[in-house]
């Protein structure tokens, strides 16, 4: 069983970058699929607006990182590690984290690595970063999570773009951070981009539209077995929360805030109901930002709890989705620094390869 307890590292702050451009689902996508009804979609998924633009994930994370380091008073030279969690990296290679080291002006004595995870990615990234830091030689690290511009044309009413940054600091004696992590690779095709990897290389056929779940999609865009993912979420998340509580002997009802991956309102309401959680302790941002993949937990905290994290707070968070993969984490914060949301416009000036 994948339980993990990490000591001597705490979450110091969070920030988030989103495209400035707002898409309203009531005004778009009227013919998204054959049974698509915009009003019913908005009512049932809880997604009215999304931020979407021609902006890669890293261009959302970098300004958010600058803002957060500024708000925390961190010097560039102090950052010992950068982890970049995304399914939409800048290039197939090199790792985007390496490029970010240079863009942020961090020391060359910096640990930098990409992690390819989606909706569970913030919890997985956190577990990896904290494990790296608990020895005490890496004292400050930035965990970047999110998905911006896709590798190929994307068109759908559920997902929004966001890039987030979580600042982690070695702090001997702080309260421990506890995890439960799980995987079901048997459902690897529940959410999948079939072509473009090494198994199915890109060919002209990859761009041909085919029908999947009532929608016309090509093989370089993400396709989802919605019902399977829904059933997975409502059954696995409450179980994971309970497993973590039992393993560590804690009462999950004690948290100040429960922040779940923002999958869709129908799924999240069901999870909240099954765990008997009071709505006022379960913040949500999907109405304004949609499902933002691995960015959704920190984005919810930054945008919904900006003025509510003074003093000591206890959090329970769970990320779940593509893999299938899930992770639940319990942590405490003291005067968590939350930067103001960074709104980003497309950068048309920088020349990239």
């Amino acid at each position: 069983m994948a339980f993990l307890e990490v000591k001597n590292v705490r979450i110091a702050g969070m920030s988030a970058g989103v495209p400035k451009r707002v898409i309203n689902n009531m005004e778009q996508f009227n013919d998204f699929s054959k049974d698509y009804d915009a009003a019913a979609f908005v009512e049932q998924t809880g997604v009215l607006e999304r931020r979407v633009d021609n902006i890669p994930t890293s261009d959302l994370c970098v300004p958010a990182a600058v803002q957060l380091m500024n708000d925390l008073g961190w010097e560039k030279a102090e950052v010992d590690a950068v982890l970049f969690v995304s399914q939409n990296t800048d290039y197939i290679l090199p790792a985007t984290a390496c490029i970010i080291q240079e863009r942020l002006g961090l020391s060359k004595e910096c640990y930098a690595m990409d992690i390819a995870m989606g909706c569970s990615g913030w919890v997985y990234g956190l577990s990896a970063a904290l494990s790296l830091m608990q020895g005490g030689t890496i004292k400050k690290a930035l965990l970047m999570c999110g998905d911006g511009k896709r590798r190929s044309q994307y068109d759908g009413p559920l997902f929004g773009f966001a890039g987030t940054v979580t600042a982690l600091v070695y702090d001997k004696g702080c309260s421990s951070i506890k995890f439960h992590l799980g995987t079901d690779g048997g459902s690897y095709d529940a959410i999948i981009i079939p072509d473009g990897g090494a198994r199915n290389q890109v060919t002209p056929k990859s761009f041909e539209l085919e029908e999947f779940d009532g929608k016309m999609v090509h093989r370089l865009e993400s396709r989802m077995k919605g019902m399977d993912v829904f059933a997975f979420g409502i059954s696995t998340v409450p179980k994971s929360v309970k497993q973590l509580s039992e393993h560590f002997g804690i009462d999950y009802q004690d948290a100040d805030y429960y922040v779940f991956h923002q999958a869709n309102m129908k799924m999240n309401n069901m999870i909240m109901k099954k765990l008997k959680l009071p709505q006022e302790k379960v913040p949500s941002c999907m109405y304004y930002f949609g499902n933002t993949s691995s960015a959704s937990i920190p984005l919810t905290i930054v945008t919904q709890l900006g003025d509510k994290c003074q003093g000591h707070k206890r959090f329970l968070c769970c990320g779940f989705g593509v893999g299938l993969s899930w992770g639940t984490v319990v942590f405490e914060t003291d005067n968590l620094v939350l930067s103001k949301l960074v709104e980003v416009e497309e950068d048309k000036n920088t020349k990239w390869v």
Partner: protein
């Protein structure tokens, strides 16, 4: 688990369809109001009421409401 109660629970997931349209032999995929979002409500109801987690394939395999009832029953 009674078929009559299952049909009542099933019918509750619809807003506009007349309650008399829900019978054991109803081909639910053909109901005008049935959509992928309604299917999610049905999966949620079955998870909550019967502690059974259905997949998309189960929903497709069932033609009538009674078929779905039998699938749920077989997984209990």
């Amino acid at each position: 688990m009674e078929l009559k109660d299952f049909i009542a629970n099933f019918a509750e997931q619809f807003d506009e369809t007349d309650v008399n349209e829900f019978k054991p032999e109803t081909v639910f995929h053909d109901l005008e109001e049935y959509s992928s979002l309604v299917a999610l409500s049905i999966i949620a109801m079955i998870n909550e009421e019967y502690d059974v987690t259905l997949k998309g394939d189960d929903m497709s395999a069932a033609v009538t409401i009674e078929d779905l009832f039998n699938i749920v029953k077989s997984k209990m």
